[in-house]
């Protein structure tokens, strides 16, 4: 803990500073700004990649004290590495895709300013080594990502942004409250695998603190009852913003839950208590509700938002049963869902900016107009449904198997059943789009076909993420080994 590795600040500060600078620099051409952003994102990814390759014990930064007992502390463990690499990668991919999308929005520069800042803050969030640091950056993330939501400043967008803020802040308070309760016990809340509190017979107030933290962080992860911001914020936000919101920022909530439950409170403390059961029930309810609402939804982006509600709760379900295999499945689903949802939102963005269609029923024959986009859309849809051999099938397999193995009376099989029903609904709300898109019917007029395919800047990220989503499913062994190590350390 003595060695301070100041390089950890680099991937945090670089995008933040670059983002703030973006407010003041005037670019002659759009291309120059894009090049600047691209450069920052690539350097960011490279530096995070470099950090990820370092041994864990050299990656500590313990220099800053706000006050006695308020310690901003960075420590990069395996989990941080996974999340930060995921964040930087997705940020780069969506960044590239957004160049084309943002051309038809105003105030591009302001968007990218906040885009970069949120990227930096998220890296810091992933690197956090104690609950305080995490909380600080968690709040910062909320505040800096709000402008992304209300980017176009229409009345609707501002209201959505405020709703996002309301939910996030409310969630953050619950976390804060839990944090106080922990602190009141005189605990120092540094993350340690397996938890630092870990009392076998916890007091009711401690359990309540953990519960509040789960609900609080669960807000960002879209867990019922605090999921309401997702379906409102996504349709109004620009597509790249919805992509990262859904693909990455919800995962920040997941990271928060993992940290607070598995690294602070300790799974042994919660196992078998009402907190665990409530958590499982809430996540099961969310899974079902999210996919049912998505199935009934008519607006494409809103449908995807509800889908996120449901899918992120797969992860929460996997975490809540506290079983190593399910834990591995949950972490895999973090990665896979992130890739899939980003691809889905980017392709939705491509559809919106190229054809202006936002409703599902307008998408008849769109596969003929933008084949590559819709192929990516279809492949990742299959992934999300869990059709083998794509990736989410693998994560679902482990999630369900872990749940069955956990032996929690009743819930250990209700959960899997709901998961599979939700998978059916997923097929219902995603495959129908692909079918409409590719099989417009025999009377479809092929002579009026216009090619709406976006340029490579949008296609490249989609294709790369789709390929990853499929290939990681066929060869998940590398990832699985890493996650199994993490699972072994915390459970």
């Amino acid at each position: 803990m003595d060695i301070n590795n100041y390089f950890l600040l680099f991937p945090v500060l670089l995008p933040i500073i670059a983002g703030v600078l973006l407010m003041f620099i005037k670019f002659g051409k759009r291309e120059h700004m894009q090049l600047y952003i691209l450069l920052i994102l690539v350097i960011d990814l490279a530096s995070i990649g470099w950090i990820a390759l370092q041994p864990e014990d050299t990656l500590t930064l313990s220099q800053f004290f706000i006050a006695e007992g308020l310690h901003v502390f960075f420590h990069v463990d395996m989990l941080s590495k996974i999340f930060s690499v995921l964040i930087a990668f997705v940020w780069l991919m969506v960044g590239i895709a957004s160049f084309e999308y943002m051309a038809h929005e105003k105030n591009e520069q302001r968007f990218y300013c906040f885009y970069l800042v949120v990227g930096g803050v998220l890296s810091a969030l992933a690197f956090s080594g104690n609950l305080l640091t995490m909380y600080v950056f968690y709040e910062m993330m909320t505040l800096t990502s709000m402008p992304l939501v209300m980017h176009n400043l229409s009345h609707e967008a501002i209201m959505a942004g405020l709703k996002y803020l309301f939910y996030s802040v409310a969630g953050a308070f619950m976390v804060l409250f839990g944090f106080f309760l922990f602190n009141a016990e005189g605990r120092v809340l540094y993350f340690a695998p397996g938890g630092i509190i870990n009392e076998p017979n916890p007091s009711g107030i401690m359990l309540f603190a953990v519960f509040l933290m789960i609900i609080g962080f669960g807000t960002k992860a879209g867990m019922f009852p605090m999921h309401g911001w997702l379906p409102t914020a996504h349709p109004v936000a620009p597509a790249p913003a919805s992509a990262v919101l859904s693909g990455v920022i919800t995962k920040a909530g997941v990271l928060g839950i993992i940290r607070s439950v598995y690294y602070v409170a300790g799974p042994d403390m919660i196992k078998g208590t009402w907190v665990q059961y409530t958590w499982i029930i809430l996540s099961i309810l969310t899974i079902f509700m999210g996919s049912m609402m998505a199935y009934k939804e008519k607006v494409l982006k809103k449908r995807l938002a509800y889908s996120t509600v449901s899918q992120v709760s797969y992860i929460l379900f996997g975490l809540s049963v506290m079983q190593p295999i399910a834990f591995v499945g949950a972490l895999m689903h973090v990665i896979f869902h992130s890739l899939v949802k980003n691809t889905l939102f980017v392709s939705a963005g491509a559809i919106i900016c190229k054809t202006g269609k936002t409703k599902v029923r307008q998408l008849v024959g769109i596969g003929k107009e933008m084949p590559v986009t819709m192929w990516c859309f279809t492949l990742v849809s299959l992934t999300l449904i869990g059709i083998p051999p794509t990736s989410a099938f693998v994560s679902k397999w482990y999630l369900i198997f872990g749940a069955l193995d956990s032996g929690i009376p009743g819930l250990s099989w209700v959960g899997p059943v709901v998961l599979l029903i939700s998978a059916l609904l997923t097929a219902g709300y995603l495959l129908t789009i692909s079918i409409k898109a590719f099989f417009p019917g025999e009377d479809y007029d092929y002579t009026k076909l216009v090619n709406h395919e976006p340029t490579w800047r949008m296609l490249l990220p989609m294709v790369v993420m789709t390929a990853l989503a499929v290939i990681l499913g066929i060869w998940p062994a590398g990832l699985m080994k890493i996650f199994a190590d993490i699972a072994a350390s915390v459970l």
Binding site: A67, L70, F166, F173, M293, K296, I400, L404
Partner: protein
């Protein structure tokens, strides 16, 4: 990878070829067709090589670890070689046939792509050595074949396709649940290991295993057209292109059977209760399929219902395996051979039907009447198929049906002797014997129905004349109804059938010897005399009753003389009696989603509702508050300063190019925007919460620092 990598090539090769074929198709269409032909022919040759060099005990296997997390494993034993060869053979024939059939269709590139993907996946199912691998390829096959089914994208095609897809996806998910439960209970999905593990854990885990088995049966049974999940079968076949229907009916349904056989012989080997369940479903499927086929007025639909009925026969065979226990040699061989025969038969029949559709684009019996007259090749092909499937002695269907029939008779004998109760103990002795006597008769009657509906089709196509003499003349004039390649395909496939039927001991028995080990069957003590009087009697009953059904029901009831004097076929099936429309659609598409959606909506609105309440009561939005008529004070003040500065600058520095901006207006505009946004924000619940939060944080920081 441990083992023979050729096995992987057999599976992945066609899928890779699908991509290559697609790319070729972008450039040259006929090159793509030949490429697809070449791929299927090569695969078939590879399978033929394995088939010819197979020796008992020399299984080829392959394990690909870590793929999809669980790893894939493949194996080629006798049973798998036979069915993989059949798969390759069918694909070879249908791919060649597709070229002419789809010559004028759109989106052929897509068709060939998915045809080859389905091919690889089907091979994967048959080669798989653990249920995980089976499931992976089963799912790929289901989805890829969907695209082949809905090829023409007509409205009813899309509907039928949707039903097909829905059944496939639902079946897939339920199977997945079953597999996970089985894996949870047994700890392995490896086929060779499952049997011993399941025997060991059976006593205490019987409930889990039955639930798991039921779930797996649901998925595979759905694919195999088992009642009550058969709904997709009569819908999807008529609308699909003929080569796809041939494959769907001939081999893709057999993948479902494969799965059912796996669970029946690995989890519930020689389990009487399980056998009874399968038997009952089999009997219902068999009867219902037959009845639907008799009533059907559509060429391909009749064949599809016939498939369902024949699959019912196979289920009966599987059920008898479980009931007969150790002495199930006849049932095992009958099941296997009927799978084999039915594949070949349906290949022939659907391709013959395809030739009709290709020329007429019509399927209704009244429309296609008399098309086959004076077309000897078509007649030969269709006749061979009809005789085969009708179970006429000297044709292949007879052999396998006889075996299954014999197994039922054998069980009745056992029951009479009092042995049967040992394996199946619901009731013993005479009562059960009577039940099985009934089943035997149902079996014979279904066979009779097969004869009846095949006779119907044959007479419609080749004997009767069309009610419109003009059309009949046109039909008879049509001599070039298919090209030489198609003709060769038809002739070859049709000729195989009587060869198998005439020489059962040299052909089919050998196949049965080769494959029966998969279901743990042993060769019977003495060879079955297929053409002995006892066995011929069963076949004869079927033919006689079949002729009766044809004359009385089809000719007597289903044909009506019109006023013009022509006789037409009419639909006697009550329109509303449709399981899909009557039960499934309302439940799955209307009642369940809407009820669930209502509950979900309430949940969804819960938190938002609270916020809404707060906004309507404690945090009322500020309304009214018109913009102040003049004087954005800040902007006026700031703009004034800027204007002065500009004025001064214009006098001194920018003399030549004076700045002409009114900063008061500029700032006023910005301030208005800012104020508007601000008003909304400040009045919101979120803002007060935020302020509250900042307050808390400051308080806490203060407390910390003081402490």
């Amino acid at each position: 990878m441990i083992g023979n990598p050729i096995l992987l090539l057999l599976v992945v090769g066609p899928m890779a070829a699908a991509v290559i074929g697609y790319l070729i198709g972008r450039v040259n269409k006929s090159a793509r067709d030949y490429f697809a032909d070449a791929v299927t022919i090569l695969t078939f040759l590879a399978m033929a090589f394995f088939f010819l060099t197979y020796k008992e005990g020399q299984e080829v296997s392959l394990v690909v670890p870590e793929v999809c997390g669980m790893g894939l494993s493949f194996k080629l034993d006798g049973f798998r070689i036979i069915f993989a060869s059949v798969t390759a053979f069918m694909w070879m024939m249908t791919t060649i046939f597709s070229k002419e059939y789809l010559a004028h269709a759109r989106n052929r590139n897509r068709y060939y792509f998915f045809l080859l993907v389905t091919f690889g996946a089907t091979m994967g199912v048959f080669l798989s050595d653990d249920l995980f691998t089976t499931f992976v390829f089963f799912e790929i096959m289901s989805l890829a074949s969907y695209v082949c089914v809905i090829h023409d994208e007509k409205k009813e095609t899309m509907y039928a396709g949707a039903v097909y897809l829905a059944v496939a996806v639902i079946g897939g998910m339920v199977t997945l649940m079953g597999l996970l439960m089985l894996y949870h209970a047994a700890g392995t999905l490896q086929l060779d290991a499952l049997l011993s593990v399941c025997e060991e854990i059976f006593p205490e885990n019987a409930r889990w295993l039955y639930i798991a088995g039921g779930c797996i049966l649901f998925g595979f049974g759905a694919k195999a057209g088992m009642y009550p999940l058969h709904i997709w079968l009569p819908m999807a076949h008529p609308v699909a292109p003929a080569p796809a229907s041939a494959l769907l009916s001939g081999i893709i349904t057999k993948t479902g059977i494969f799965g059912v056989i796996v669970i029946s012989s690995r989890i519930f080997l020689h389990n009487g209760y399980w056998g009874m369940v399968i038997l009952l479903f089999g009997v219902i499927t068999m009867m219902l399929g037959g009845i639907l086929a008799v009533f059907s007025l559509d060429l391909k639909r009749t064949l599809a219902c016939s498939s369902m009925s024949q699959l019912g026969f196979i289920f009966v065979g599987i059920g008898m395996q479980g009931l007969l226990g150790e002495e199930n040699a006849l049932a095992v061989r009958g099941t296997m051979l009927h799978m084999f025969n039915h594949s070949n038969l349906k290949l022939v029949l659907f391709m013959a039907a395809g030739v009709v559709v290709m020329n007429l684009h019509k399927l209704n019996l009244n429309d296609i009447r008399g098309f086959g007259r004076k077309k000897p090749l078509l007649l030969y092909t269709f006749l061979m198929g009809s005789l085969g499937i009708g179970g006429i002695p000297l044709f292949n269907g007879y052999v396998s049906k006889t075996l299954i029939h014999e197994s039922i008779v054998e069980y009745i004998e056992l029951l009479k002797e009092g042995h049967g109760a040992a394996t199946f103990a619901f009731a013993s002795g005479a009562g059960t014997a009577a039940l099985f006597k009934v089943i035997e008769w149902l079996f014979i009657i279904t066979g009779a129905m097969t004869v009846a509906y095949m006779t119907k089709l044959f007479i419609v196509l080749f004997v009767e004349k069309n009610s419109d003499p003009e059309i009949q003349k046109k039909y008879e004039a049509k001599t070039n109804y298919c090209n030489k390649v198609t003709a060769a395909v038809l002739a070859i496939t049709a000729t195989i059938l009587p060869i198998l039927g005439v020489l059962p001991t040299m052909t089919l028995d050998k196949l049965a010897d080769m494959g029966q080990g998969f279901m743990f069957g042993v060769s019977p003590h003495h060879a079955v005399h297929y053409f002995s009087l006892v066995n011929l009697k069963g076949g004869l009953y079927s033919i006689v009753i079949g002729a009766l059904i044809y004359v009385v029901i089809i000719r007597g009831w289903m044909m009506v003389k019109m006023k013009t004097g022509t006789v037409v076929y009419v639909n006697r099936w009550p329109e509303r009696l449709d399981l899909l429309e009557l039960v499934y659609y309302p439940i799955v598409m209307i009642i369940l989603p809407n009820v669930a959606a209502f509950i979900c909506r309430c949940m969804d609105f819960m938190m938002d509702g609270l916020i809404l309440l707060a906004r309507k009561t404690t945090h009322r939005q500020l309304h009214g508050g018109k913009n102040p008529p003049k004087g954005y004070r800040v902007s006026f003040w700031l703009g004034g300063i800027f204007n002065t500065v500009t004025l001064w600058l214009n006098k001194t520095i920018y003399k030549k190019h004076p700045l002409k901006r009114d900063y008061v207006l500029r700032f006023a505009e910005k301030e208005r925007v800012f104020k508007d946004a601000n008003k909304i924000i400040v009045a919101s619940v979120s803002f007060s919460l935020l302020m509250f939060g900042i307050g808390i944080i400051i308080t806490v920081l203060y407390l910390f620092m003081v402490r």
